[in-house]
């Protein structure tokens, strides 16, 4: 990886801070305290991921897409955003959701299957995760064109994986973003695997180099280096805010776990590869940096550990305590206002449920508004 052309790196895997004249200024405000806070977020996000994976194995979640190994790409970019920026992500950006302040229970809601979506996007300026590969890039570009019309200086940021670059939606979004010079940041987490398809099959050139074909400037960043990711994201955001149009960021990282809890990567992946990437772990790197700076005190470690454990407890109790939806809830949130067609369906469904003769199933329309 170190031989890669133009790979932006500010912290080496051994935790050494290296200087980069172009990108250093973008993170010069990150002092000791902020560094510890980034370390905390990275650790907490990994803990969330571990707990959610366990919850799936215990039958409490239907499915979970682990982000193990991709923490720095998510925290570095997520923490660079302004409150009025808007995120359109894939299903794996649960770390970004945490940074945006999404409620922990809401993160698990959709994976437990008790709701069609987990939260109100406008409360945290982050759309609910898109399952369709790459579709969110179009939403982001459209939103960014809206920002232009409003004359605002906020930015739409869209996250997707290396597999998504083969999708039509992503390519269409890039064309439109370039045509309209929309304030949108395309953040590609290149985690090297699209389920079982290695990235080299999807792209014979580096993914970042594709952007040039659309007339969009790109940055290729070490996705396991939280500072480098933050710097690159800030560069892209700044360009978008000042009328410079879209930027494409390729964060080179690695999915250390399975695609989802229903996947077994040992069937298609070399164990040596995993070992290579474990040596570039995003959290160990920050930990080593803190150690070099003498910041990794017992107090800091204890605080981060306690925070991670309390978040884990919160997500578990929130997930398990979630009430099951009522059958009639299916009619909620379909349309913003009632209409006769839906009322009719609702009436039919209520009568159908009543035919079971089971009082629990025969909930009348009250709950359905």
């Amino acid at each position: 990886m170190s031989t890669d052309r133009n790979l932006i790196q500010l912290v080496t895997p051994a935790g050494e801070r290296i200087s980069h004249p172009e990108f250093d200024p973008w993170v010069k405000d990150i002092g000791d305290e902020q560094l510890c806070s980034l370390y905390e977020d990275l650790t907490v996000i990994r803990r969330i991921d571990v707990e959610a994976t366990a919850l799936q194995r215990q039958g409490e979640l239907g499915l979970w897409p682990p982000l193990l190994g991709q923490e720095a790409a998510q925290v570095g970019s997520g923490r660079a955003l302004r409150e009025d920026d808007f995120v359109f992500s894939s299903y794996r950006e649960n770390g970004v959701a945490y940074c945006r302040g999404v409620d922990l229970t809401d993160i698990t809601r959709v994976w437990r299957g008790t709701a069609s979506s987990g939260w109100d996007p406008y409360t945290v300026n982050m759309a609910t995760p898109q399952i369709i590969i790459g579709a969110q890039t179009l939403h982001a570009t459209g939103y960014a064109m809206g920002i232009q019309n409003d004359g605002a200086d906020s930015v739409a940021v869209t996250y997707f994986g290396d597999g998504a670059i083969s999708e039509g939606d992503v390519n269409e979004a890039l064309v439109f973003a370039a045509s309209f010079q929309a304030p949108v940041v395309f953040f590609c987490s290149n985690n090297h695997w699209a389920i079982s398809e290695p990235v080299r099959l999807q792209s014979h050139i580096q993914i970042a180099d594709r952007a040039a074909g659309f007339g969009i400037p790109s940055l290729r960043v070490d996705g396991n280096d939280v500072l480098a990711v933050m710097a690159a994201t800030r560069v892209a955001l700044d360009r978008a805010r000042h009328g410079g149009g879209p930027t494409f960021i390729e964060a080179v990282t690695y999915r250390m776990g399975p695609h989802t809890t229903a996947d077994d990567p040992t069937r298609y992946r070399d164990a040596n590869e995993l070992e290579d990437w474990a040596a570039k772990d995003p959290i160990l790197r920050v930990k080593a940096l803190l150690e070099r700076k003498g910041l990794l005190t017992d107090q800091v470690q204890q605080h981060v550990h306690d925070k991670a454990e309390s978040v884990a407890r919160e997500i578990r109790s929130g997930c398990i305590g979630m009430p099951d939806p009522e059958p009639m809830d299916i009619f909620k949130h379909v349309y913003s206002e009632p209409n006769s067609w839906l009322d009719r369906q609702q009436d039919h469904y209520a009568r159908y449920l009543a035919s079971f003769g089971d009082p629990a199933g025969a909930t009348p329309e009250e709950g359905a508004r």
């Binding site: 799936q56 194995r57 215990q58 229903a262 077994d264 109790s317 398990i320 089971d358």
Partner: protein, 461 residues
């Protein structure tokens, strides 16, 4: 209080999983998320983290058992702190949903679950989560209503579902009644609510009786094995079942003919020794198999009919203009025959690397499914077990398989005298439907000629 942990759907739409091993024993104190078992689904081997902190009071399933999703597998004594119960409605809901469909296809492209390999018996007695006696704790006049019946599909999916309506099916499910056993009195044989109720009330098989008989029938296959007895009974499943099916299919569809040829391979062994010390091959694993494989590939060019397939369905003989060379490999999980794609285009160096990679991957159990299909001819190396000859069974869909025997020092005719030579027996089975004795014999003779004098290749290519 006692808490049960039911087997969840560990993938997407799985109906069962196999308990591989328990990491805990009855009486152990476990913490939340401590790994308690290793479980194999159709998709992956996964570790089960404990959903509770407490003491293990019972392990309900033996390792090696295939368990339906939703069945309790372990019980815990948990401190009664009034916390939210994880084994609430969600797992039960999962159980009903999963059991409701007889066979479910994996629902994402890219997931390799082979549904038909799940080994579900076509018919199995109904089982309930706990012994029937324990259910009688409510008023006795109530129909016995197990809290979470594991409703299994009792008919194979080819059978037509008895006609009824969803509410009636739910009633029947709640009462533990198999609709197939109920006579319908409604229009066109429709089973009505009354039919189900009458069946429970006055049918010749009353519900409790059915439960009792079910419990006695429901022992797991492993339970039949007497502990330390004179016989060990292993359920036929997995790779063994697959191998058996393939062997039966092959042996009883393709008429096998087997020919034997014993060859003085001393010159080949000399060549092997020479190559091993040469710079070009340093770091490569050269074995007699490497050279036999090369000889097979060269001989195939002159005898292409051995590299073909009889296709019954289309009534065609498919002649392959490429060779995907299968190598039978004994792995800890049984026999597999991964193949080397386009082996005929590989140099000896590439072939040797491919062979090493192939067998190592197979032994590690990591062979990709694509490497197990599409073979055109196979080699089995019985020589590594010290065996000389035998009748190899064709890998289904292939026209020939060569068994190479052990290389032995034997007294052998050499330049009109008896000398101690290195000798190997080759056994070639071929599908007599598309290969005649002539082609089979010429092919085998060519392989023998190359191994007896590698220089003969100059006359063949």
């Amino acid at each position: 209080m006692i808490k049960e942990f039911r087997l969840p759907d560990l993938g997407e739409g799985l109906t069962e999983s196999e308990i591989l091993s328990w990491k805990v024993a009855v009486g152990d104190t476990v913490t939340l998320n401590q790994v308690i078992a290793e479980v194999e689904t159709a998709k992956a081997v996964v570790e089960l983290p404990s959903p509770f902190a407490g003491v293990i009071t019972a392990l309900h399933e033996e390792p090696g058992t295939i368990v339906e999703v939703g069945k309790p597998i372990v019980s815990f004594e948990v401190a009664d702190d009034g916390g939210a119960s994880p084994s609430g409605a969600a797992p039960a809901g999962v159980a009903t949903a999963a059991a409701g469909a007889a066979k479910r296809e994996p629902n994402l492209v890219g997931y390799g679950a082979v549904v038909e390999s799940s080994g579900r018996p076509a018919r199995r007695a109904r089982t309930f989560t706990t012994p029937a006696v324990e259910h009688v704790r409510g008023p006795v006049v109530e129909p016995v209503r197990p809290e979470n019946p594991v409703v299994e599909p009792v008919e194979t999916d080819t059978a037509e579902r008895p006609r009824s309506t969803p509410p009636v099916r739910k009633l029947a499910k709640d009462l533990g009644v198999e609709l197939a056993a109920v006579a319908g009195t409604g229009a066109g044989g429709l089973i009505t609510r009354e039919d189900v109720q009458n069946f429970v009330g006055g049918g010749e098989l009353s519900a409790p009786v059915r439960h009792l008989s079910a419990v006695s029938d429901s022992g797991s296959p492993a339970g039949l094995a007497p502990q330390g007895g004179r016989e060990v009974r292993t359920p036929i499943k997995g790779v063994r079942k697959f191998t058996a099916a393939a062997m039966v299919a092959s042996a009883f569809t393709a008429p096998h003919a087997t020919e034997f040829l014993t060859v003085d391979v001393t010159p080949t062994m000399d060549l092997l020794a020479k190559l091993k010390t040469s710079r070009a091959f340093s770091g490569y694993k050269l074995t007699p198999l490497t050279l036999v494989a090369k000889a097979v590939l060269i001989a195939l060019r002159r005898n292409p009919s051995l590299n073909s397939r009889w296709e019954e369905a289309s009534q065609e003989i498919v002649q392959f203009n490429y060779v995907n060379l299968g190598i039978a490999a004994a792995t800890p999980r049984g026999l597999t025959v991964p193949n080397i794609k386009d082996a005929d285009t590989l140099s000896l160096l590439e072939l040797s690397a491919a062979l090493t990679g192939l067998t190592e991957t197979a032994r590690a159990g990591k062979t990709a499914p694509a490497d197990l299909s599409g073979g055109t001819i196979s080699i089995t190396n019985i020589g590594v077990f010290g065996i000389d000859a035998g009748t190899p069974i064709l890998n289904p869909g292939e026209a020939a398989i060569l068994a190479m025997g052990a290389v032995r020092k034997m007294p052998w005719e050499f330049q009109d005298e008896v000398a101690l030579r290195q000798v190997m027996t080759l056994s070639l089975s071929f599908d007599h439907r598309l290969v005649d004795g002539e082609q089979g014999s010429r092919f085998l003779a060519d392989i023998g000629a190359i191994l007896a004098e590698p220089g003969m290749v100059l006359t063949m290519v």
